[in-house]
Amino acid sequence: MKAFAPILIVVALFAAVPLVVHSNVVLNFLVVALMIALAGQGWNILGGYGGQYSFGHAAFFGTGAYITAILQMRYGVNAWIGFAIGIAAGALVGAIIGALTFRSGLRGSYLALVTLAFAEVLRILASVAPITGAGVGTLIKLDLRAQAFQFQSRAVFYWIILALVALSLVIAKLIERSRFGAWLIAVRENEDAAQALGVDAATVKAAAMVISGAITAAAGCFYAQYFLFVDSGIAYGTWISIEALLTPIIGGAGTVFGPLIGALVVKALGEGAQLFTGDAPGLDLVMYGAVLVLVIAFTPRGLIGGVAQARQWLTRRPAKAEVGHG
């Protein structure tokens, strides 16, 4: 249980926020940051622990968002059930992409390009298919009842996304401490050596993509319920692929808290930039780029790695030269 204490403390602190802060602006900021943290945790399972860099996590996010929205609006499915099916659909898309890419042995930049292509194909399909509402998108009818997964109060949405993030943190921690996690990290570090030790690399990576897809899809499902609108540019847009991979890398890829820290930092900087410059479009992206360059230049293992480095430096233990992996 001791291993899970940090998660419990962090989640408890976050849970107390709406009791103290009533500003909708702050809560809205935190809800969006937590949603990105959830999407990022999905990426982190595959990219951070498994070293398989996907540039197309929008494929999962968008599938979750669309499935949740379409099931409700076109088939009258209950929102909560739609939410669950959306997550399952994300896992299924993960299984399909995982089987196709890893069975054919794609690695590194090829994997990045192919995942990007999958997301783009889905985006283009969603922008023309009648079932997704094509270019118009799908609007979820306002129905502020708990059984419709809609709430008057921001705080309730906040606690729901926090619960999902908490669950994702526990999943990451469980993976870290399991045989599957040891194998996944071994594949990241050296795939040949892992195989020589009996690791079925293709299956391990595909399984990681299923989990990864489910978690990022959950963020997409939440997006649909929170904003009550999806279109192809939002659901399958590159923005979410970029945020899903940036947040763990900036926070610390392959760590439990990396995506959460990264999401808070990135979102805070994005908001800060907007305060100073008004609504100049694309400025948040410039901001992300700058932060990414700084992080990679100074703490290749993300902010969490940077803290560890700083602590080592302060306690004056002669720090060994860190060699970034991957």
């Binding site: 401490r177 040891a182 194998w183 990290i185 570090e189 050296n190 040949d192 030790l197 060699v323 992996h325």
Partner: protein, 250 residues
Amino acid sequence: MAEPLLIVERISRRFGGLLAVNAASLIVPEGRITALIGPNGAGKTTLFAIISGFLKATGGSVRYAGEDITDEPPHRLARRGIARTFQIVQPFAGLTVRENILVGAHLRHRAREAALAVAEQVACEVGLADMLDRPADTLTVAGRKRLELARTLATEPRLLLLDEVLAGLNPSEIRDIVPVIRGLCVRGITIVMIEHVMQAVMSLAEHVFVLAEGRMIAEGTPAQVAADATVVEAYLGHGAAAKLGGAHGH
């Protein structure tokens, strides 16, 4: 007598125009140390890569424990009990020594605690007990070779393929590790070793196969092989055996 543990029959491997391994055969009886020697570029590592599933054979077959295992993928062979080390060590550089060995131990032990116990025990056996929490990339060459050995041992193999575990070690480090290898054999692990350090081959192996230019040119006890004229020529060039013989005559 039962069938030998490993039977490599007329294995060939072609890389484009180069026949790296040419109908090489090898028989490894259970519980022994067998050495595979040969000049650089003879195809030894290629043959190991085929046995351990990392390369597909162009022709021929590999039988292990009475079953045909030709072209099975490496992870499945590891499950059958065939473990290999890499000539160029491949540590999981970002992980500690303990975490490195743990990966191997997980093959037979799902539970983390059980796997950790195996990892520690193996670390003691190869002399890495003091370094369990060191990052793997801070180990010396000798340490990395030990780690390579420890990880494969943690998979609890029946057949161990050692690809030059002694290369790059100094004489005192070799003296330290030779008894470790002998100990593994005593424990019942069958070992095939590729080795250039002849002193170690002579003291460890009971049977030696010699590969040159992809062909198996000789086999026998270490002493027989060392005296074999074709082996001497393979290493020192055509006519060398005669010259050496002549030198003895004077």
